[in-house]
């Protein structure tokens, strides 16, 4: 059990799983199960542990990353190719004649296009090679895999007696594989202490050393201490988001680390002044925008905080903005109240107040939360004319504006009418309230005045 011990130290907090896996896969005397399911949410060490155990005990295996496969046929082909190389290496090891494989190699054109053919080919291929393991990683994440294929893949182990199919999935439902009770190993999510412990295996350094040799044991201790402290602090600060998994905690830590240790490098604080360091960090750097680190945005480093500033963005043409507002209003207002919101007669405005008051007593959902509804193009044009500050004889450009907006997917056509500008076609706006409000404000149009509450 020496190798097991080394695995335990390498991969802490997973002793149970490692032991189970090793037990199931490495026993030469008893026959291994036809299928084995490793399940657990993202970043719980499923793949790493599986690979480590298989490698450590020299279990003959083929490993397929299913996410890499574009189609299910692509997956079958990869599985066959993986098992093929495995079989060749096995027979070479055992010194058997490779006649069988020559036979199969002679017909490479036969491509597996279903689970059945794959099973048949594997059966021939693996007939004399002893126990092998086929690992299908993330098989439930492949786009084209249907439940039928999944259970088919699972059944392969029954048909081919010396094959064990190890499936790594994120969720394990009892009926997922459609077989009675496949043995399974659960990988639960790491908790705070476990996360910190695992991350502490590889701490980042405070010291910017040019040569490895200068790194002393003391320094290592300092690093470990501060890293552990800050990991648990960051988990506490951002736990709500970072608890998603250990990988995002690690990413956030990598991002924050240079900022956190800056005062140390500037010789303002000592390494052991952790509370001060943390307070400084919280007040100077975070300023309540933890989400900034949690939802990383491309190219928006700390230096450019104005990066997401909307006023800095490219502008739409003037009338496009009004069209967009009109489309938004057409989607979120119901047509029967249009005269109330868009009629320029004062009488309608008075009526609107009265009705609006009565409405409030009823229990109704805000329109904004119900999602956009389709509207005919003609209605949008009418609202557009109604909200424009000046009257406009629509020139040809308006049509191209609508086309541009739709190819930017700010508005979308929902009905299947041949011509896009056919007046009877139905459309739907594709932007949210915030963006519409921003667009409206940039042309000094307050969308709330016309929006049904």
């Amino acid at each position: 059990m020496h190798s097991l011990e080394s695995l335990y130290t390498q991969y802490p907090c997973r002793e149970q799983q490692i032991k189970e896996l090793a037990l199931v896969l490495t026993q030469a005397k008893i026959s291994s199960p036809p299928a084995l399911i490793l399940y657990g949410t993202e970043a719980t060490g499923k793949t790493t542990i599986a690979k480590a155990v298989l490698d450590e005990f020299n279990v003959p295996h083929a490993y397929i990353r299913c996410k890499e496969c574009v189609t299910s046929r692509h997956l079958f082909e990869k599985a066959l190719a993986g098992c093929g190389t495995l079989a060749v290496s096995r027979t070479e090891n055992q010194g058997q004649s490779a006649s069988i494989f020559e036979a199969t190699a002679k017909q490479p054109q036969l491509r597996p296009d279903s689970v059945n053919t794959l099973t048949g080919q594997l059966q021939k291929l693996l007939a004399h090679v002893g126990k092998v393991v086929l690992v299908l990683d993330g098989v439930d994440r492949q786009r084209e895999i249907t439940p039928a294929i999944l259970s088919g893949l699972c059944q392969m182990g029954r048909i081919i007696s010396n094959l064990t199919v190890v499936m790594i999935v994120s969720v394990h439902g009892a009926r997922l594989m459609n077989i009675a009770d496949p043995p399974s190993i659960h990988f639960p999510a790491y908790n705070k202490d476990q996360c910190v412990k695992i991350l502490s295996l590889k701490p980042m350094s405070i010291f910017n050393l040019e040569e490895e040799d200068d790194y002393s044991t003391e320094m290592q201790e300092e690093d470990n201490w501060l890293w552990g402290q800050s990991c648990s602090a960051v988990w506490d600060i951002m736990g709500r988001h970072a608890a998603r998994n250990i990988i995002s905690l690690r990413d956030v830590m990598r991002q924050l680390w240079p900022l956190l240790i800056q005062p140390i490098n500037d010789k303002e604080y000592g390494i052991r002044d952790f509370p001060k360091l943390l307070n400084r960090f919280k007040s100077d750097r975070l300023r309540n925008n933890e989400e900034f680190y949690m939802y990383p945005r491309i190219g928006s480093g700390l230096s450019q905080e104005s990066a997401g500033n909307p006023s800095d963005q490219h502008d739409l043409p003037f009338f496009s903005k009004y069209l967009l507002c009109a489309a938004f209003l057409a989607s979120y207002n119901s047509a029967k109240y249009d005269p109330r919101y868009f009629s320029k007669l004062s009488e309608a405005a008075g009526k609107r107040k009265r009705i609006a008051k009565r409405k409030q007593t009823g229990r109704q959902l805000n329109r904004k939360h119900l999602g956009p509804r389709p509207f005919p193009l003609e209605r949008m044009l009418a609202i557009f004319q109604a909200i424009l500050p000046t009257s406009l004889l629509p020139p040809l450009d308006l049509g191209s504006q609508i086309a541009t907006l739709s190819s930017l997917r700010l508005i979308r056509k929902v009905s299947n009418v041949s011509s896009a500008t056919d007046t009877s076609s139905k459309w739907r706006v594709n932007i949210g309230y915030e963006y519409a409000k921003f667009i409206g404000r940039s042309v000094k149009f307050d969308i709330d005045n016309h929006l049904e509450q």
């Binding site: 996410k67 786009r143 491309i298 003609e378 629509p394 700010l410």
Partner: protein, 723 residues
Amino acid sequence: MDNDSVPNDDSGSLEHQACYIYTPTSEAVSPKKRRATSSSRTQHSKREKIDATDRKTAKTQAYGFPTLLRNSESEDAVKARYQALEKLWSDVERRTNDVLAQVNGETLQAVSNFVHQAGPDLYGEKLPTGLILTGPNIAAHRSLFEQIESRIQNVDKHGRVAILTSKDSTNLKNVLKKAIRAITEIQSGLDDEDEVVEAKPGRSTARYNYDPEIIQDWCSLHPDAKVVIAVQDTEAFDPAVLVDLITILHQYLAKIPFVLLLGIATSEDLFYEKIPYSIGILLNGDRFDVQRFEQSMEQVFNEAVLSPRSLLKLGPRVADLIFDRQKDFTRSVGTFITELKYAYMSHFYANALSIILTFAEDDKAMTELLSNTHCEAIRNLPSFRNLVESTLLTFPWRASDLLTSNTILKSAVLSASRECQRYSNNLAEAISLFRKIQSIVSPHQANDIPAYELYSRVLLGEFTTRPAFRDAMLTAKKLSSERFHLLVRTLAELPSELSSTFAESAAKIHTLQSEKSTSSLVSGFMLPESHRTSVKSGRVRLDELKSGMTSQDTEYSKIVMSTLETLESYFKERFKPYTNLFLHEIFFYDLRSPHSQVFSAKPRPSIERALSRPSDYLGCECCGKDAEDGDGAGIEGTQPYTALLYQLYLESPALIGIYDLWSAFRVVTLGEKADEESDEDDEEEKALQAQFYRSLSELRYLGFVKYSKKKTDHLVKLAWKGL
């Protein structure tokens, strides 16, 4: 409402005559054309008539240019006009293309560097992603991405680029197939669903043609090359396919050096709303911004219009029209160039005098080519009239010479063309000077006016009275001495006749500053505003402050004062209205109606107007009598049937019963006779019914109605008037 009633709009054929007598012939001119109330319409119809006569009389020349001046223009002159257009426009086009090529240079360089550096050292396990904020002008995206492609692939040789558009985004397989083909340049048919590709020699099994490992094979042959996947229109790309694509690229990142470029036309927020968090955290990289529309527009405008090498300038009204359209609708440099080209074409096509533009340097050719008719035409220009009237006061004999002698006139034309060029060069210089002042005086002002918007106001000569100008001058007065020094130094560096004056005052300020080394100089204008508001106590305080000024400060105040006065008089001198110039009609193209008709045609309002008020177009006796009263034109039995039906249609609800429509139609057309018992076999009735159906199908063809599926014999109203 524009008033282009200046004679030079008349295509040159009649402008050399003070008036002309119009003798209507039965077939030459369509009697349907009638002068409508709006003058743009008048012009339009006039133009049509002239074109019709011209076409009849003039034999078609080579180049497709008509012979103008009542067919008396010589063939050489026509040729000269055509060649002038070719020469001038090709020059402008070349220069604008050069500018456009440089416009995105910085962005291209940044993207190329990003692609070069992207790798595991910088971005770890994340997929290197460049967000390219392209702006909403989708017409320019294609060329931008082609520029990126050629920069990365051919110039800097960092790897290969596959450009994907939303058209390819039907499913993941097609996207990958296209990317693989673009990168490995393996040509294989798309027709076969899962065609296999012969992989590199030595591999026993072939691959599917969407297998990213084909790229991996390719990469093993090209070890340093990056594989760039560029998505041109991320918004339109199917989000599900995009997510799959990113997952796949990320999966293969360890084996293939992928770099993802995403073109974002709207805003980053909308992009992040679209992709799930689990995909968002796979990406890391940088964002790149292309130049703002305002900046690139200004650069192109400076080169294409303001540059002294562009002889033909835009007039203020055309410029307003063009830039209003830019602001309201297009926001694209490409359309500006099209409109400018149209201005050139229209000027040389229809204005016989445009040949003068070719003689900018060549006096001899002009005397040869300008015929007597040309001279007559020149004498009919309004600016000639202004010229004669102004010379009449000072040199009466010269005025009479201008009117009688063609040689004198030609020399006047020559000097006028030089004057026009000098004027526009001065103008360009003054505009750039003013832009400089603006940028220094109020560097962060959001509403600074770009050169192309200044231009039309400046041409009209009213800019110096505008608040924008006054503001700039007043703020300049109140600048701190450091900034004022900077301003004066910058102005001294610009090439203008004032540069020496500015250099002098800059030197003076510098010496004053060094004399008064303790603090910065204070001018009398910098005293806070609040001290001047309240009368009595304010005066006292002001005096105190003034007495606190040192001698250097007083000296400095004088310099500020004199500099600003020089500037102001300079601008007032330069920003005179262009209409004062003789021959401004030739050097400034200012016809609104061709542009508005060509570039912002209004088909829907025109059709609706034609149908609801046919008298506007027909001008016939029977139904035209009400038109003069304004909106009084109602339904009349004499109007065309389709127009009648349309007006009935306007009055009906969203669902129209065909029988109701027919009875209303019958009453309107038959008038009193309709009350009589209708007779099924009546010939007149039958004919009317046929007309009714014909009109109805015409309305259907125009897209106003369609048959209802809900109710038999009913029509659905599809279009409302005035939208």
